[in-house]
Symmetry: C2
Subunit: 358 residues, 2 copies
């Protein structure tokens, strides 16, 4: 019985191998897509550490605050015509030696550090309440307070026109900056909105819909201290990171989080001792399973069935026991609600297991 | 601007008035329904404390463990023909002096103590994965460990036939008792699955679908330390409690929680200084708003709009600010997923407000 987190797999205790650094540059990013045909930006071995830059595609919402020289180089170096069919700037791909289809890629996220203390939330045309807000888009710029681990709004402005081009740069005159959210401080939850392995598909795959490969899962729990398990689709896995957020609620209601560039330290480990049908998340307190669909009802069912799979195949529970346990101890949450991509996740506490000896 | 939790309403600091005790007996319960025409089981004043018994309608799943003399009296004293159209044993109603339609009934839940250390989870015919489990129903009996604040399975059995009659008593021979969930301990979350005021409707209203009046909300956060605000529908409010649970996950997947009788201490306060369109929950850390519908998508939208109402009408945020805040800091969860009644709730942390002076 392969227990994901307790198996005798030697990788679990393997010390880190080499440390690699991966800057985000026009040559090491792919904007808006995964593609199994991409040449690796970096080649590593299982167990290696990677320090990589994840750059937000919303840096242009406050260019004076969020665009340094390196970010500007990406926005200038990747033409608009090459940013599709999705929207996210992805750093990578990283080729991991020995990773093969059928394996799981374990990614231990160790640190996520803001590149600058600013982030942007867009009430977007793809947001949940776009119609209720008169089809108006609005940007709220947040500042991070590292000491308090919170974010607070600096200013806001109505976006002129419709936000259609990824990486739009908006020079908002100081006179257009309206005060916002006075007295409110939001807990910081730095995480990656989008990360994953290359799908086994010919050509570009949009970064927008999440799927088996990972992608735009938008679960704020994918931060430092969390471990993700991605089902490897192609040789070398071709793992990429992007869409960094400094905070987000379950649901990501307006269509975006506090979008903010992050520098990320993580360890990649090839796992050949188990498989799982969808991206699996382990945090210090929870195991978390995801379901995705255009319909929230269908996403909910997918998440429930994959949690059943986790509890039976990987925790050794009978189906009957697993069903009862899910009803009394598993918490279902709405990860995102955007037309065409709804996400549901389900969390089961890790501490409920392992009491056999009592 | 009426701030629900910070208004200068004198009730907020009112010390408790009288303490009333309300035992659950055939004469003080109504099984399966709310009814505005019911005579009060108890009359109290705003600010009074009530110590009341909430009895689970699933006590018959383990009669030797969960049915004492008082519970047996209810099961024997309320004929099956009088248990409809819902299923829950409701204690009350409690008439609160001066409560009138348009007011909010604030109920501060202070203590919830198990009546006995046992509970039942039924994988029910109305459960989410009923078809996936071959249309079989199964009971898992849990034992509570008060010292550890956990529950663990004692035994399980397949339910013979279809569980259709509320209060079915099943004498499961010892030889039919199968071991279950070895080594698993579930965190205890004692709470009321169903509680609320009488709807302003002629005749019986089923306890099953939640609504503006409260009812079967099935949010496990409605436990000791939580405060609920119910929109009063009829004179005197006619508040009742029932459907006690000792633990449940968000989603209540199998159709039931760990159903277990609880003795509840709570304070009732009539609030005339604000109104809210749906049952509102305040915990030490969160404000929580609920949405209900047959379709999870519609419940989600209802919850999001009522949270927008909370943040604008009761916290004084602009609509633009509230929308951004919901996207970056509000967590949406699935409260229940039963055919015909889906529930979504959304939580916003209380600590994000009140930083004006910094």
């Amino acid at each position: 019985m392969p227990l994901i987190c307790q198996a005798g797999a030697p990788q679990r205790t393997a010390e880190p191998g080499a440390l690699h650094k991966l800057r985000a540059t026009p040559k090491t990013v792919h904007w808006g897509y995964f593609d199994a045909a991409l040449s690796p930006a970096l080649k590593v071995k299982s167990g290696d550490l990677v320090q990589a830059e994840a750059v937000t595609h919303h840096a242009g919402d406050a260019p004076d605050l969020m665009m340094d020289e390196g970010v500007t180089a990406i926005f200038e170096g990747v033409p608009e015509s090459d940013r599709n069919p999705g929207v996210h700037i992805m750093t990578g791909p990283i080729w991991i030696e020995d990773a093969a289809p059928g394996d799981m890629l374990e990614v231990r996220y160790l640190a996520m550090t803001p590149r600058n203390p600013y982030g942007s939330n867009l009430a977007a045309n793809w947001g949940y309440l776009y119609k209720e807000f008169g089809e108006k888009e609005r940007v709220t710029i947040y500042q991070l307070d590292a000491a308090a681990n919170t974010a607070h709004a600096l200013y806001a402005y109505d976006f002129p026109g419709v936000y259609l081009t990824p990486g739009t740069i908006t020079h908002c005159p100081v006179c257009d900056r309206q005060p916002a959210l006075k007295g409110v401080r939001v807990p910081a939850r730095p995480h990656l909105g989008t990360a994953g392995v290359a799908p086994d598909v010919l050509g570009r795959v949009s970064t927008i819909p999440p799927g088996v490969h990972g992608g735009n899962i938008d679960n704020w729990r994918i931060g430092a201290g969390a471990v993700m398990y991605y089902p490897v689709q192609v040789a070398g896995a071709l793992f990429s990171i992007g869409d960094p957020h400094v905070s987000q609620g379950d649901g990501e209601l307006s269509g975006t989080a506090i979008e903010s560039s992050l520098n990320c330290l993580f360890q990649v480990i090839v796992r050949k001792d188990f498989s799982f049908p969808s991206p699996l998340l382990e945090t210090p307190n929870w195991w978390i399973v995801h379901g995705f669909d255009e319909d929230l009802n269908v996403a909910m069912r997918a998440a429930s069935l994959d949690m059943l799979d986790l509890l039976t195949e990987h925790r050794g529970l009978s189906r009957n026991d697993a069903y009862s346990l899910m009803s009394v101890a598993a918490d279902f949450g709405v990860t995102q609600v955007v037309d065409g991509r709804q996400g549901v996740h389900v969390r089961i506490p890790r501490t409920i297991f392992g009491h056999e000896g009592e």
